[in-house]
Symmetry: C2
Subunit: 487 residues, 2 copies
């Protein structure tokens, strides 16, 4: 190649117009404009710049250990020994049950954490997951139907990409939804078919709303293949009853839909009137009544939520139910292209589904730590909900579960005009102002999808201690002062 | 919904014809037919069934710790403390440098391993990666250009999906290739454009072969946007010289291609005549000569290979070079949809790129462990190559680097007919027979793509100790006996 040729040649760089249209189309607000601005402010604060607050409170993402929640001792102690088995030869400040558990894991999995595992994950852990599901639901579970994953997200993405044949395929997702769903569908090149949750009824899922959404999609030429349900709800905080789940399953069955059940918040229920019921349990009950026989179901769980809050470890699993063997072979192939989920995440799943039991000292410590976290989350959920409902122009449905409140904003016309003038959605404009005024980072409802003309934001119930008290004081104060500017 | 309706309804299950066409099209042989059969045999062996061998030797995948390679002490000791920081308050059998490193990591990252990190990974680790690349290549590196990933695979998949605008886009990949590339392109829905490596010249990459492949693809209507190069080579074991890299870069620049450099085997070079030179270093040198200015490059690295062999931890990074800010924003968004790479993998990257230095006790132990692994790999690479070249009908190019040999088989016509009779590619037929006869699990060349009418298989150089000695004796014996059946 001559130098002359080189010099004259103008290399065409990639541009947004020449890269993947699917990636450009995807949106992911949880780490979008408001959190990006929050990161800038954090850097500025470190550099000594002055703001009306001394630190940013990150309520944009359910990330408990970023907000002072501590990891469970049993999990981390066992994990340390499995990471570094030579420690087992030395005196340690750990309970015997910790040592025994680490040794049992290493005996079942002699290559430890350093080797690629089976594409579905350690078989010992899949066995523990199957036993957990079996005990939870009262129905036997096959370890072969379990796929360990890097968090629940990886499983959700695998399932969404699997069930969509092509660009005319569509998956029904709730409105509001967790944006992983819309983003993953965009990346797959398939269509998101939104079904509205009924805000006035505590964000309930009504069959008539499912039917309306389904029919509109079919009319638009979409091949609807699946419905995703998030229970307990993200961002809504709503919890489905067993009857509501049965209604959804029977409706999905009649439409030949696969059901994707995002059940990562199954431990996070804060009201005495509700308890977690899995889609699998309801399905098996219906099947025993000759209903919904063979309905195909995916269920997802994670170590990131519940009371573990081990977001960084990226542990999770997917259970597949009633799939054909030929399709299962495709799921396996897809998992194998990812080689295997990270091994510490797999170990965390083992410890999540198989905690210390009974009256052992380790079990007592475990339950004390667990109850302390869950009691505190329950209190913070109730106080967050009450705080929002105390503000004029804000209403918040019951925070029955999960880690979020999704309050509704009644915004004055002048504010909406001001937002339009700077090219922002009104709820984005509101959230940006909240960040600038009090350092609280939340995500506008537009990032989750919402009924047109309504405005919301999602916040977590995760700030704790004095930070939470400040948050409870500052949010109403900000709201009043900000609204006053647009009367 | 009435029971009658339920009973009469026949639910349409997903079938291979109704799920994602892209997933069905993808192939991934490294965990394909031969390894699946090997897994069955392992289970049968456990159950007491009799085979002509007592255990399966898994040479299908570069998974060092599954074959007795031990993890490096420094990495695992620091990791144990970061996993369970309460250990820092107790007397431990660790060197002071281990304690200091764990404390420094926790100081830089106060939320430890339990929180989601920045979507690109811990900023402290990205800083260490940038310093490592800078020292390696002699050119400054911006931590903002580093994306930590779950192994290198995740980065490769992100880059491949980004550079393909649509289904007419194509990426040039070597033949033979690591099947992650063809599988990921199939999942993206884009085209794989194979360019042949020259086997007779030690699997070299020749510009005339690139040109021929490129022109044929363009003639077929493919918009070629990128070229992937694996150096050191997988499955070939070949190592590129700086001049060869410069030739590839200059050619890619003239064609407006993005270059994806898979450099995960950069520590695995076994011949004194070759050393690792990064694509980045060569690019920066060319740019200093006013050549290839602004050529866009992705480079990938991993904790799974080299001498760490930490496959299960899923640590890795991607460096992006010369990308436009608007495209970088899309890369960031894609990373953020994955939330963050697993944190233990991130810590492993930190310890890979920033090992203990100088004359400290920890550094001496580290170097002793490293050299022992690399010396042994070097010996096994040379002995594997010599063993294959000692067999009539088998030839093997120099195993200069990486973890694999890719010997070529000259197969008799009768064997090819026998394979066709059972519907198998001849090299798959051969590999299945090897597994059944001596328990050695390798992957047929057809899984990596090969020049039509040639047959190969990939094996790792990872068996060790007595297992390796047996392997060296058994493979030639199997070959002779199997060939004798088809004369």
């Amino acid at each position: 190649m001559s130098t002359l040729q080189e010099t004259n040649h103008s290399y065409k760089k990639l541009t947004v117009d020449s890269i993947s249209k699917k990636i450009v189309a995807a949106q992911y607000s949880v780490r979008g404009a408001v959190p990006l601005r929050a990161n800038e402010i954090k850097e500025d604060l470190k550099a000594g710049k002055h703001f009306p607050f001394s630190n940013v409170v990150s309520c944009n993402i359910g990330n408990p250990q970023a907000l002072q929640q501590l990891p469970l001792s049993f999990l981390r102690e066992v994990a340390a020994l499995v990471v570094c088995p030579t420690l087992l030869n030395h005196p340690l400040p750990f309970d015997d049950e910790v040592l025994a558990r680490a040794k049992a894991f290493l005996k079942a999995n002699p290559t430890g954490l350093g080797a690629y595992t089976h594409s579905q994950g350690f078989s010992s852990v899949r066995g523990e997951v199957a036993a957990f599901i079996g005990a939870r639901d009262g129905h036997p579970t096959d370890p072969a139907s379990i796929y360990l994953t890097n968090g629940a997200s990886e499983g959700v993405k695998m399932a969404l990409s699997l069930v969509c044949a092509d660009s005319e395929s569509g998956v029904m997702i709730p409105m509001p939804q967790y944006p992983l769903y819309s983003a993953s569908l965009a990346l797959t090149g398939a269509r998101a078919v939104s079904y509205a949750l009924c805000e006035e009824e505590g964000w309930s899922t009504r069959v008539e709303d499912l039917e309306a959404s389904y029919c509109a999609a079919v009319d638009a030429g979409t091949k609807v293949t699946a419905i995703a349900v998030i229970n307990p709800g993200n961002p809504t905080g709503g919890v489905l009853t067993g009857q509501a789940i049965a209604d959804i399953l029977e409706w999905a069955y009649a439409k030949n839909l696969v059901v994707l059940a995002d059940e990562v918040y199954q431990e996070n229920i804060y009201v005495d009137t509700k308890r977690f019921v899995s889609f699998k349990k309801v399905l098996r009950t219906l099947e025993s009544q000759d209903k919904c026989l063979g309905l195909q179901l995916f269920s997802f769980h994670s170590t990131s939520k519940g009371f573990l809050g081990e977001c960084g470890l990226r542990g999770g699993y997917m259970e597949i139910i009633n799939l054909d063997p030929a399709v299962i072979a495709q799921v396996y192939k897809l998992a194998s292209i990812n080689l295997c989920p990270n091994t510490l995440g797999q170990l965390a799943v083992s410890l999540m589904v198989n905690p210390p039991q009974g009256d052992s000292p380790a079990a007592k410590v475990y339950r004390t730590e667990r109850d302390s976290i869950l009691d505190s989350l329950k209190s913070r959920a109730a106080r967050s909900e009450a705080m929002f409902n105390s503000i004029e122009g804000v209403s918040c449905q019951p925070v029955e579960g999960a880690l979020y409140a999704f309050p509704k904003l009644t915004l004055p016309a002048k504010l909406i005009e001001a937002a339009e003038a700077v090219g922002q959605a009104p709820d984005l404009f509101y959230c940006m102002a909240m960040l600038d005024a009090i350092g609280v980072c939340v995500v506008p409802g537009s990032g989750f999808n919402q009924v047109e003309g309504t405005w919301h934001f999602r916040t977590t119930v995760l700030p704790s201690g004095e930070q939470f008290e400040q948050y409870l004081r500052n949010v109403p104060k900000f709201h009043r002062e900000f609204m006053a500017r647009f009367q």
